[in-house]
Symmetry: C2
Subunit: 454 residues, 2 copies
């Protein structure tokens, strides 16, 4: 039994079980009034939302109330959030009644019991609404675990031995690309120097780039104002949206470059709007604006298409970024082994929570691809900061790989919001996964009965 | 305006609209009493189920009742069916109120409006519960259209011009693999001789192979009894399940070959139970039993894994079959262009209904791969017979490509069940898509309140 896990057994008796799982449909009207927040080529009117899972844990032997609670979420953009909530409820019989110690000391088996349940897997497997629901539940469990250990989740993870970290992962379908021994070697390599990087992070934070200056629906004036403001507050890397309309995109590129100058890193995001050959033509025409990457140039399922686009654009200095819609580790495995991905954009709740995200981080490290998580939305910045901090401490010690998205929306609804200073995430210190939402926000924005929706 | 479509405008005025969409959760306790029906390596206890969509159409100008109704379904295996029903309800605002003529004469646009809805697409896109829901609604629309035209759906499709057929398909993300002109050329090539194949089918039916003699959970005695019975009733091709246990599989292979003899076509289905290298080793060990194909050897998302398995097993005479879990045309595009698939197993309701199935059939034809649909389950035989018949008439005239799955479960719940004679599907003549379930079955098996569940 590994050290952290054996200590867990002294903290918790086996009769502490999950006593309830509830799902709440929380939506923010971000598309209201045509503000353009969050808008891109395919998603013109997102209402940033959360399928919000709350777990309680209690002793099965006592009459008392719950001992702990954990809060997790999956991000969606509005309609369909109720379907994810229904999927969370469908997981209830697999979760409620389970011992916390049993879950955490063999987390891979528990994870597999959700993702490979003999009937539920038909409506996935490991994709769509049911996998988003798994993410919400798994994220809530991590929040719970952090609270039990009185640590932020990044610290809980970074205090684990390499063997403990490996035990979190369901290795099914990965063995042709990475073995457990290879993953262990990656973790052991960084083990002795973890402490140095914790100090570095506490001093310097984790570098972010900002997306929320460049939403598609913003006017030139709003873009300029937001870019200037982001520059002033210390951001040094920026992302803009591109579209099917080349002349619109050229105009927007001119605007960005006129404000940022020619050399500031600028990323472009197509949000899946092109066919493969269109993507190559369009980005060739925009290559003069020196984008660092083009993100989601085509269908998020099109591994071979991304590989082809990458072969065409890399000679122009443009990399391929994707992953926010890549639904499981098997998709990432293929993106990575086929050279279709230069920047690996894990999503904290598209993948099945922290456990699967760690699997993908290890895969990416094996293939030499930096992990630059998707964030923004609702709660994604709160979660991904833990993932990126863990990634730097335990998996990839290269400072030049550090890149984490940021968008300045909806943080005010979280009890422990992510904090940015000088364009960097400040290391969170509150216990858990930073996923707890404020009671008042839940009350006001619950759909459809909250006061903001009635 | 193409001929069939212009005639539609004389049949229907534009004010005939979809007036309601309902979703019903219907489940059959096929796993009860440990019968082993439908069981395989990963799905040990399926309760064959349907997320059942009913559409009505009425004139928006009249006070009268509905003029038509259409019945569609998505197959699931039990738990999670309620999530698909919730997803069908989430599509209601996109469907109810739409003019039937507008839908059918620009079906691709309507299909795209469901699959690329700006908020709902987040929980897919084109995968998982939301895409299964799209399939149920689209299938119901085809049933409705068949009833309006007073034709079975295969005939409705086979009476369309190549241009009309092309207009059904959302071409997004396909242009790097097949152009509309290439697809048109495939359809035009078969156009003059369609009538001959209709006559052939009416005389000979469409050849089936049978799966329901070889479920994993059956005892040797049940397997033997079912195989003998299938042989007697005229079946000439058989499928068996394989597993992670080589000795169990060898025993089962011996049993099958002892009854069937060495040369009868025998297919094997692993239902995703292996990693890539395990699949190669396991099937190499079973190659002495001469399987025609190995189906779903690993994760259904693992295109590159299937390609690797195929390269290893083809020299042993074993082909790769997959597709029942392949969630959209972009996945099939890659399976086909990478040579990962020797038999293309479309699913009538994993893909987004008939429209997307036709896209995949045309892709498969371009890449020279025969389409052998997944059937069985609940209602799949009823639907896929229309698809395979259309495929032979309009896309692939090779009789040696004809292969359609059959399992003899649950047909008694359908008003127009598929009928097998001498191991062949008899061409259906009833109007629509054969998807209407009996009122009594709906009443008894609706979950959780039907009498069979209470």
């Amino acid at each position: 039994m590994a050290p952290l896990f054996s200590r867990l057994k002294t903290l918790l008796s086996r009769d502490v079980i999950i006593s309830s799982l509830t799902a709440r449909d929380v939506r923010f009207p971000t598309s209201a009034c045509g503000t353009g927040h969050g808008s891109d080529a395919l998603h013109k009117d997102p209402n940033y939302s959360a399928a919000y899972a709350v777990l309680t844990a209690a002793s099965s032997n006592s009459e008392g109330g719950s001992l702990y609670s954990g809060h997790g979420l999956t991000f969606t953009i509005g309609r369909g959030n109720e379907v994810v909530c229904a999927a969370i409820k469908s997981l209830e019989p697999l979760v409620v009644g389970r011992s916390l110690v049993d879950i955490f000391t063999d987390f891979a088996s528990f994870w597999h019991s959700l993702t490979c349940e003999t009937q539920l897997r038909w409506i996935g497997p490991e994709k769509g609404a049911i996998h988003l629901a798994v993410a919400a539940v798994i994220n809530a469990l991590w929040d719970l675990w952090g609270k039990i250990e009185c640590k932020p989740v990044w610290e809980l993870l970074s205090d684990m031995s390499p063997e403990e970290i490996i035990s979190l992962i369901d290795w099914q379908y990965l063995s042709d690309a990475i073995t457990k021994d290879e993953a262990l070697a990656i973790l052991h390599k960084q083990y002795p120097s973890r402490r140095e990087r914790v100090e570095d992070l506490k001093e310097n934070g984790y570098p972010a780039y900002i997306t929320s200056a460049g939403w598609m629906g913003y006017s030139d004036e709003v873009v300029e104002e937001r870019l200037q403001s982001a520059l002033k507050s210390g951001f040094t890397k920026f992302k803009m949206k591109v579209s099917r309309d080349l002349s619109v995109d050229k105009h927007r590129c001119e605007l960005f470059r006129s404000i940022l100058g020619p050399d500031v890193p600028l990323m472009m995001d197509a949000n899946q709007c092109w066919d493969v050959d269109e993507a190559i033509a369009h980005m060739t025409a925009l290559s003069m604006y020196k984008p660092l990457w083009i993100e989601e140039p085509t269908s998020p399922d099109d591994i071979l298409g991304h590989a082809k686009i990458g072969r065409a654009l890399r000679p122009l200095g443009i990399g391929i970024a994707t992953g926010e819609y890549a639904h499981n580790r098997v998709m990432f495995k293929q993106f990575l082994e086929s050279g279709a991905m230069d920047y690996c954009q894990i999503d904290s709740c598209r993948l099945g929570g922290i456990n699967e995200n760690i699997a993908v981080m290890l895969l990416a490290q094996k293939f030499g691809v930096p992990v630059c998580p998707h964030a923004g939305g609702c709660g994604l910045c709160e979660m991904t900061q833990h993932l990126s901090i863990f990634y730097y401490i335990c998996i990839n010690d290269k400072r030049e790989s550090q890149m984490l998205e940021y968008a300045d929306h909806l943080h005010e609804h979280f009890v422990y919001p992510s904090i940015i200073k000088n364009g960097c995430y400040i290391v969170p210190t509150d216990h858990g996964y930073s996923t707890k939402m404020k009671d008042q926000s839940l009350l006001e924005y619950e759909f459809p009965k909250g006061i903001k929706w009635t």
